[in-house]
């Protein structure tokens, strides 16, 4: 197998260009690539479109920020495609003031749109959202007397994801609920950068336990920050 370049978090952040659609793994900061997130914050790249489950946390009272919330705070997104913003008051503020566009997508639909992009599908039919605002502007297709919404694939220019362990080829193993959107995003972006806690030699991961096949991963970054 071919070894993938191991780069610094700053180098990884430098591969994300102004205007890119950026996929960020994690669920309320659990399983997010925190080292790369902070490098991107330091670099300050703007006008990004975020694709993430949520915008993690930002509590005005305590001042506590978590995960991708740091990039919301620095206003690096022009648009956010997420399922949940309830724990991030800054996202809600930016949405209500009109500074940033927030596109709320049901969580299962978001996951499946990313999966569809990564697996060559032209979209999928889901019952989720029928009879709600989510239906607006979408094609309704009736299959065996039941209405479904046609949902389209969601691609990224760059995905930054987080795994527990990689071998140098880029095979990834996740841990616990830190898996979440990471394996889906690994398949759905033109460039995939995996932040991992441990990098082992090729052959040291049992092929039976690999979650994300190495071919999806372009670059590896060693985690230096695990706190949310």
């Amino acid at each position: 197998m071919i070894a993938k370049p191991i780069i610094s978090a700053a180098e990884a952040a430098g591969k994300i260009k102004e205007g890119d659609t950026l996929m960020v793994g994690g669920f309320l900061a659990c399983g997010s690539p925190h080292t790369i997130i902070h490098a991107l914050k330091d670099l300050g790249t703007k006008n990004l479109t975020l694709v993430c489950n949520d915008t993690a946390g930002h509590d005005f009272k305590s001042g506590r920020v978590t995960g991708v919330g740091y990039l919301v705070q620095t206003k690096q997104f022009k648009k956010m495609i997420v399922s949940h913003i309830g724990l991030n008051q800054e996202t809600q503020r930016q949405m209500n003031s009109g500074e940033t566009v927030v596109d709320l997508v049901p969580q299962g639909t978001l996951a499946e749109r990313i999966r569809a992009a990564g697996t060559g599908l032209g979209g999928f039919l889901t019952p989720t959202g029928i009879g709600t605002e989510v239906e607006a502007g979408k094609q309704v297709i009736v299959v065996e007397d039941r209405p479904f919404l046609l949902e389209l694939p969601l691609h990224g220019d760059v995905a930054i994801i987080k795994a527990k362990k990689a071998d140098k080829a880029g095979n990834l193993v996740y841990n616990g609920t830190a898996q979440n959107f990471n394996p889906l995003m690994a398949t759905a972006a033109s460039l995939v950068i995996a932040e991992v806690e441990e990098i082992v030699e090729i052959g040291e991961i049992d092929p039976n336990t690999v979650h994300t096949p190495s071919i999806f991963v372009d670059f590896l970054v060693k985690s230096e920050r695990l706190e949310w």
């Binding site: 669920f27 309320l28 946390g57 399922s83 809600q92 299962g108 990313i114 989720t128 996740y174 898996q179």
Partner: protein, 221 residues
């Protein structure tokens, strides 16, 4: 009689709904507490939409694992025999009808089974998270809520006014006054909690409610 809001009675009653072996997803907030009141002789399997089957209780202080959380990002444990999966699999489980019950919080719930709980336009917009998929996919949808809003109006309505999370998906509403089934465009009161009476509830709820013939007056403890 005076009304005193009582969240505990809601979660205690919902905890009696399930049978051993059933797969249940508990929403964040009030529904999460249902797990603390399950009868000793009932073993259910808790699904967590962030990617886990076999959700366990919170860990002891000091032994939290940053890679092991519930869907509200609180530290949890995994039960023996549990497993983890990605978000597409998690929602495949949910939409695919493999979850027996989902229990969700409420801003408004109406007599057609509509539920609103993700958005107050211009004010509070937390987002739907997994709630739309859960209400669409789960076999039984239970809405858990205090009967009255802080301003005094009933959360059970004739018609929801807020953007819907779920259209005609709610099967049962459990409040701190009783248990209501949703059928035929009406609420059906099937259990009334002491010290309240069906008449007292009907007078104060702005919705069409039929008192079931076999409606029981029960004491929840």
């Amino acid at each position: 009689m005076d009304y005193v809001a009582n969240k505990e009675i809601i979660v205690k009653r919902i905890a009696k709904v399930f049978k051993t072996g059933e797969v249940v997803n508990l929403g964040i907030g009030l529904p999460t507490q249902v797990a603390n009141y399950l009868p000793k002789d009932v073993t259910i399997i808790l699904q967590s939409e962030n990617g886990m089957m076999g959700l366990g209780p919170a860990p002891a202080k000091g032994s939290e694992d940053r890679d092991l959380t519930n869907a509200g990002s609180a530290p949890v444990t995994v039960q023996t025999g549990g497993c983890f999966f990605d978000s597409a699999t998690s929602f495949g489980i949910i939409r695919g009808g493999h979850v027996d019950y989902t229990v969700l919080g409420v801003l408004e719930v109406d007599q057609d089974g509509n539920l609103a709980n993700y958005k107050i336009p211009g004010k509070m917009v937390p987002g739907m998270g997994g709630a739309m998929d859960l209400t669409t996919g789960a076999r039984v949808v239970i809405a858990a809520t205090l009967h009255f809003e802080p301003t005094g109006g009933s959360r059970m309505k004739r018609r929801c006014t807020l953007p819907l999370t779920a259209a005609r998906e709610v099967d049962m509403v459990v409040t701190d006054l009783g248990v209501f089934e949703v059928r035929g465009g009406r609420f059906h009161l099937v259990e009334c909690f002491e010290p309240y009476t069906p008449e007292w509830i009907l007078e104060r709820t702005d919705a069409d409610i039929t008192v079931s013939n076999d409606c029981r007056i029960v004491k929840i403890d």
